[in-house]
């Protein structure tokens, strides 16, 4: 187990290092100058030069990269070129928003997908199955962006049941939850379509096996067999997809946050790339990479929990 953890941690660190190198290289190769973006077209040459000096852009690339890594290891991600406040502060104030959205999205996705997927498998060949297949096809085809706008037009503009966007702040939990409903639904509808299909096919696989027939034959109810015997055994492929989807959810918040004007990390990374704000982009991409790697790590741990047979190998 210890060796397993060591290998994974090493992989984690190496991945982050590689990501940081790539981001640094790409941002510096991309045409565009943060100083010019800040001061605009009509600025004088010496004002731009003065700002470049202030932002430390005249140092050689290697020096800038090495000092960035050194500081990052100590938890200092530098000052944002455009906001001129510590990057860690920028991220800290927006992280809760994005994480809340991703977690809420994941939970709704799980409930919807598992429910629909298992139901479809149980109703295999009948109306329920076809219904779920059709809906999931629709869900996969529909872009989240477009769906979001439709939801806003119906629930916020026409019916006035929910706010069209924005985040009311956690001071008023009821209002905060109301602002999260539409964005979560938009995220979840698309993701659960994919997961429902995976659940369905995995469940069908398991249902074909002998032990299921035995369980039914020994008098256990259909429902009990489905939820206590089929689902737990169908979990391995489902958990794999969930791991990948969590990463997709976190990065998918970029689009959702823009449509619902939520103050999350998605909008920040979008804005920072356009502004060529290297320190912020660097820290954010590293954060997303860390989340993805962690999600996969958790999935790997979950495998061992779900399927004790794998424990021996780990």
């Amino acid at each position: 187990m210890a060796y397993f953890l060591f290998r994974r941690t090493l992989g984690f660190v190496l991945t982050l290092l590689a990501v940081s190198l790539v981001v640094f290289a790409v941002m510096n190769v991309l045409p565009g100058d943060p100083a010019l973006t800040i001061l605009g077209m009509d600025a004088s040459e010496d004002a731009i030069a003065a700002l470049r000096e202030q932002l430390g852009l005249n140092e050689p690339l290697v020096t800038r990269y090495v000092s960035w890594v050194w500081n990052a290891l100590q938890g200092d991600f530098g000052l944002s070129h455009s906001f001129r406040v510590p990057v860690s502060e920028l991220i800290a104030e927006r992280l809760p928003m994005t994480i809340s959205l991703a977690v809420a999205g994941m939970l709704v996705t799980l409930v919807l997908a598992l429910g629909l997927g298992i139901t479809a498998a149980a109703q295999h060949g009948r109306a329920g199955d076809w219904g779920v297949m059709f809906l999931s096809q629709l869900g996969i085809a529909v872009p989240a962006f477009w769906l979001s706008i439709l939801l806003v037009m119906l629930f916020a503009v026409k019916l006035r049941w929910l706010p069209p966007g924005g985040f009311a702040g956690w001071d008023d939990p009821a209002a905060a939850l109301r602002s999260l409903i539409l964005p979560t639904v938009a995220l979840a509808l698309v993701q659960s379509a994919v997961l429902a299909r995976v659940t369905r096919s995995s469940a069908l696989e398991v249902m074909r096996q002998d032990f299921v027939r035995t369980a039914r034959a020994s008098g256990l109810s259909r429902r009990r067999v489905l939820w206590r015997h089929v689902l737990p055994n169908a979990l391995v492929p489902i958990v794999t997809i969930v791991g990948m989807q969590f990463a997709a959810l976190v990065t998918g918040t970029i689009v959702i946050e823009n449509v619902f004007y939520l103050p999350g990390l998605g909008r920040l990374i979008f804005q920072s790339i356009a502004n060529r704000d290297l320190p912020t982009v660097q820290a954010l991409v590293m954060l997303f990479a860390a989340i993805v790697v962690t999600a996969n790590f958790v999935v790997d741990l979950l495998y061992v929990v779900i399927d004790p047979r794998l424990k021996a190998r780990a």
């Binding site: 991309l30 800040i38 001061l39 600025a43 001129r84 924005g166 209002a175 823009n258 004007y261 356009a274």
Partner: protein, 495 residues
Amino acid sequence: MSEPTLSRTLPALALAFGLMASASAAAELVIGMQQEPTSLDPTADATASIDSMMTQNVFESLTIVAENGEVQPNLATSWEVSEDGLTYTFTLAEGVAFHDGSTLDADDVVYSFDRAMGEDSVNPSKDIFEPIESVKAVDPQTVEITLKNKDAFFLFNMGQGDSAIVASESVETNNANPVGSGPFKFDSWTRGDRLTLVKNPDHRDAAEVALDKVVFRFISDPAAATAAMMAEELDAFPGFPAPELLPQFEADPRFRVNVGSTEGEVILAMNNAKPPFDNVEVRRAVATAIDRDEIIEGAMYGQAVPIGSFYPPHGTAYVDLTDAYPHDSTKAEEMFEAAGVAGATMTLRVPPFPYATRSAEIIQNQLSEAGIDAKVENVEWGFWIDEVYKKKNYDMTIIAHTSPNDMGNFARGPDYFYGYDNAEMTALWEKIQTEVDAEARNELLKQGQQMLSDQSVHGFLFQLPLLGVFRQEVEGYWSSSPVLYMPLKNVSIAN
């Protein structure tokens, strides 16, 4: 239409205090803004939305510009100009204080100017301070500014956000916590969400200010902006990004739509230093090939005024030159042939603004009707600034120049991204800058417009409109703007 009670229960912070006809209720205005800035200091960042929110609301300058373009007193209640036009003596208002309580006097004015003109200055409009020789505090209420040469735009420039008066104690953190002297104080900024200002009760004009609180909400997506307006989460959206979505507001009795003018000239810039655009006949052919009306209809849904040269139609010196090159595809084709570029390929590198990308498609079509193979390249803003603006790596591009009094762009010589080299224009602009008599200056400006049109330096397309959507009860907003700001002290909500 849903009942008023349902709309009142919406959780949006902004509408919490309501807009009811009650003397004790605080008057709160919620304004939608498309672009969120990353800094709140107009003297260190050029982003236009900083000026729309901060200038003359939180920060103040010596003078202020009115809606009709007239310069009026602000922090300086009056001024005297010496005989030779080189020395300005400003008398400052009494009892002015910064929002942190410290007094604003001549020393702060001197500090602000020294900072803007200094070697390390990162002021985005540093060249408006270029004519200044010295700034002196004669006494706490009097400032004397001496110029190197006469500057016709001096008083106007002193009314911009770049020349705002700041305090040395608070200037370092003005990007996140702006401290000014204006009728509104900065309250809070939740990045990515909203920015709040509150009325400054100690301001000398506080009695005239009708609003107690102003909340700016940042919504970049036009569909989301429309939804927010329709759901009555916002009271105003003064810079509405999508002309195609206006009709639904025009049809709705709750709202009024304003189509005003700005100082932004939208041009089809041609790289005058790169063949074949160094040939005036080719440039004239391009001008003949394009059809402004079709571009305005298609790109701006009819909501823009065409221009024939580089000057706003609402300006006092405007000359209508839109008929200098009447649209004629056949004639344009002949002109291209005569110049030896028939069937040539021309690249149009366009930044990601709707006015630019939409116009590009239409122009591409119009050029192909004149036998030119025009290719459109949609590029990112950072790319545009580097490749097109800095490196002049382009054939044609579409851009809006939003600064007032910017005909001087054509006097910047071939190093400027236009690649335009004309000593006559440079000399004319110098005369314009130093001509303090308005009538004489207007005559010179007319000459300048004629020159630019004769040489068809660029394709002059249209003036960028100021599109705003407002709830009927909101009053006091400017219809057009000669500058980049809009003073909120004149805005009120009727009952």
